[in-house]
């Protein structure tokens, strides 16, 4: 899955056509800067997610593409054309709204045909196209129903059909699955991906759900405080987070701060104090105080104390939990910060079964595990991910 997605993405990246481009776009609401000098190029046919916590500027960015908001600074291009001042009804993009925004007084068929009616497509023709769109989203036999008679998942499909029938250059999706329950959400994720493959329209997808973004997208733009922190393929976002924010936001991450004591041949050693030395790969200047991140699944726990070598930290077990096929241990390092270790039970040290909270364990990892995440924050923080 990851492999296929990555290949698909690289194919898209090399293509010439850019559907949407942000050039240093800034948007302010009063004293709040919602989007701050964002640059972004969305390639034709790709599935791009804007991922971030609420208030990060992802929805504002989407609304600027749709034309509901105008940038205060910078340029926004759709299909290579500057769209500043172009109203939503003249843009070749369509939106799937978070709460679907179906017209309650119209039948399902009329809802889907609404946009075509604005284009003055004949009644027969637009009803036929609407029916085809409903078939594409696999919602048949509900043509004459009112939206209120449909379930959330079905309304979602209508909203999708209503936008797709317009055959826009770009489809904008504003947390479209947010209101659905988990099972339905999983189903719709697969559906959305299938539909996108089938129609080949560029999808820009806003979500705060990292799993959703990582599993569906060709590329993910992780946003925070109005800026794009990292824009990359899902696998790269997870494997090589560039900033502490991305590392923390995507998946779980253990943070260790310390001073770089050795830097040579593309490797480094960080002294984290209390006898813990982190060795990893990457270029960094000696003497800098940096933050490194290590994924819980890249760590292993072994009963007994540490052996004083690098990439091994003596610690005390705080909790142990079985998560089906995995075992998760929360351990406290000598420095007082806590780390999460998650191991496959089939590959974990069998002796782990007998350890209990309060026991001593050695937490180890290999040299490929630590990520350099830039300067360590000055303030002394609690290092619980």
């Amino acid at each position: 899955m990851t492999q296929a997605t990555a290949d698909h993405a690289s194919a898209a990246v090399t293509s010439e056509e850019i559907d949407v481009e942000f050039r240093a776009v800034t948007k302010r609401f009063g004293s709040l800067t919602a989007v701050s000098s964002v640059n972004l190029r969305v390639h034709k046919g790709e599935f791009l997610s804007l991922l971030g916590p609420s208030g990060c500027g992802k929805t504002t960015s989407l609304r600027m593409i749709a034309g509901f908001e105008q940038p205060d600074e910078g340029e926004l291009l759709i299909g290579g054309r500057d769209v500043s001042g172009v109203p939503p009804y003249k843009r070749d993009v369509n939106t799937v709204f978070q709460q679907y925004a179906l017209f309650p007084h119209m039948s399902i068929l009329d809802n889907v045909a609404y946009g075509l009616k604005q284009r003055r497509v004949s009644k027969k023709e637009r009803h036929q196209q609407a029916a085809e769109a409903l078939e594409l989203v696999r919602l048949v036999g509900r043509d004459t129903h009112r939206p209120s008679m449909l379930s959330g998942g079905q309304q979602q499909r209508v909203a999708l059909a209503r936008a797709l029938v317009m055959n826009p250059r770009v489809l904008l999706l504003d947390e479209p699955l947010g209101a659905l329950d988990l099972k339905l959400r999983k189903e719709m994720q697969i559906e959305l991906k299938r539909i996108q493959d089938q129609v080949g329209i560029t999808f820009i997808y806003v979500t705060h759900d990292q799993e959703e973004a990582l599993s569906m997208s060709d590329r993910v733009a992780v946003m925070s405080n109005g800026v794009i922190e990292q824009l990359d393929e899902p696998r790269a976002i997870y494997d090589r987070p560039l900033t502490p924010f991305v590392a923390d936001f995507i998946g779980d991450m253990n943070f260790i701060d310390g001073q770089v004591v050795e830097a040579a041949d593309g490797g480094f050693a960080v002294d984290a104090g209390q006898g813990v030395v982190v060795r990893g790969r990457g270029d960094v200047a000696r003497g800098r105080r940096v933050r490194v991140g290590i994924r819980p699944e890249r760590m292993a726990a072994h009963p007994g104390g540490g052996d004083g070598r690098a990439n091994s930290a003596p610690s005390e077990v705080v909790t142990k939990m079985y998560l089906g096929d995995q075992v998760q241990i929360v351990a406290r390092l000598a420095s007082g910060s806590e780390v999460i270790v998650r191991e496959q039970r089939t590959s974990a040290d069998p002796a782990l079964d007998t350890i209990n909270p309060g026991d001593q364990v050695a937490i180890t990892w290999d040299e490929a595990a630590p990520h350099l995440l830039g300067d360590a924050p000055h303030a002394v923080e609690k290092e619980t991910p």
Binding site: P87, P88, N94, F97, Q99, A101, P104, H105
Partner: protein
């Protein structure tokens, strides 16, 4: 009055459809006899006068202010064969219709602006619009008379001398009943989901078209309720044509008043009242048919 009876019933049905109906719940069930005091009040003080009116309308005038009970429909045929009363009915209908339309034209934009663009001061604005309602209807109408007076600024400086004409009556009607229209319309615009308008423009509808097909369409039930709420009392208006029309412009209400208190012809006055009620009932029936149809999509 009919509308007051019809409204809660319609609202109750809407609530029933909104909430999922459960079988035997633990909700307390109230015994029907608890409504007896209310029903009794209705029977004596609401249905009673109506019954008296109905009986009087088919009785015979026997002297000044007294009646002989009978079954005689001549009062009604008298109404329909008199040019004078047909004209009064016609006047009333035109003025109430025109007044209602003008109320919509003035009230809707105000409600729209308040509901869509005001945030902090929304409720304050609503309060300011409704405050005049707390003062006596009669006093307000006299106050309006001062503004419209031929010696007032409006007449002297702006050349708008309308007192004792149909224009003054129209202004009075709209002014006095505007709050009654604003309340239901504001309520429906307040419930409006504005992302639907965004969705319409997103799909290519120009702003006015989106307003017409979405906003106005979805708030239409509120507009119809509001319009009916002002149309009915406007049709029965007595004070405004009296004070601002100065007897030059009569409504059915004035004719009824004159018949009772001036001519002391109770049977004919009763017949006029019944005829007015019958005419208004037509509008209410149309409204109820409309309202039940609207409920199907719960707008």
């Amino acid at each position: 009055m009919t509308i007051a009876g019809g409204e809660p019933a319609a609202a109750a049905t809407a609530v029933d459809q909104g909430a999922p109906r459960r079988g035997r719940g633990f909700a307390p069930r109230y015994p029907g006899w608890l409504t007896l005091p209310s029903l009794l009040y209705y029977a004596i003080f609401f249905l009673g006068p109506m019954a008296i009116l109905a009986v009087f309308s088919v009785s015979i005038q026997s002297g000044f202010g007294s009646v002989t009970y009978a079954f005689d429909a001549s009062q009604f045929s008298q109404i329909f064969h008199s040019d004078l009363y047909i004209k009064v009915f016609w006047h009333t209908l035109i003025m109430a219709t025109g007044g209602s339309l003008l109320t919509i034209a003035i009230g809707y934009p105000v409600c729209y602006w308040m509901a869509r663009y005001l945030t902090t001061y929304k409720m304050l604005a609503l309060l300011l619009l409704v405050v005049p309602f707390w003062t006596s209807f009669l006093i307000r109408t006299y106050a309006l008379k001062i503004i419209l007076d031929p010696n007032g600024y409006l007449a002297k400086d702006l050349g708008f001398n309308a007192l004792y004409t149909w224009k003054a009556v129209g202004i009075g009607l709209v002014y006095n009943y505007l709050p009654l229209f604003i309340l239901p319309v504001f309520a429906s615009l307040e419930r409006m989901d504005w992302t639907l308008v965004e969705a319409a423009t997103d799909l290519g509808a120009r702003p006015f078209k989106a307003f017409w097909e979405i906003t106005l369409r979805l708030t239409l039930p509120g507009v119809v309720t509001g319009a009916l709420l002002v149309f009915i009392p406007m049709s029965g208006e007595y004070i405004i044509p009296n004070i601002l029309g100065g007897g030059n412009f009569e409504f059915v209400g004035n004719a009824i008043g004159d018949t009772f208190s001036g001519a002391q012809n109770w049977p004919f006055g009763s017949a006029l009242s019944i005829a007015l009620m019958a005419a208004l009932s037509i509008f209410v029936i149309v409204y109820i048919l409309f309202a039940t149809r609207e409920e199907q999509f719960g707008a």
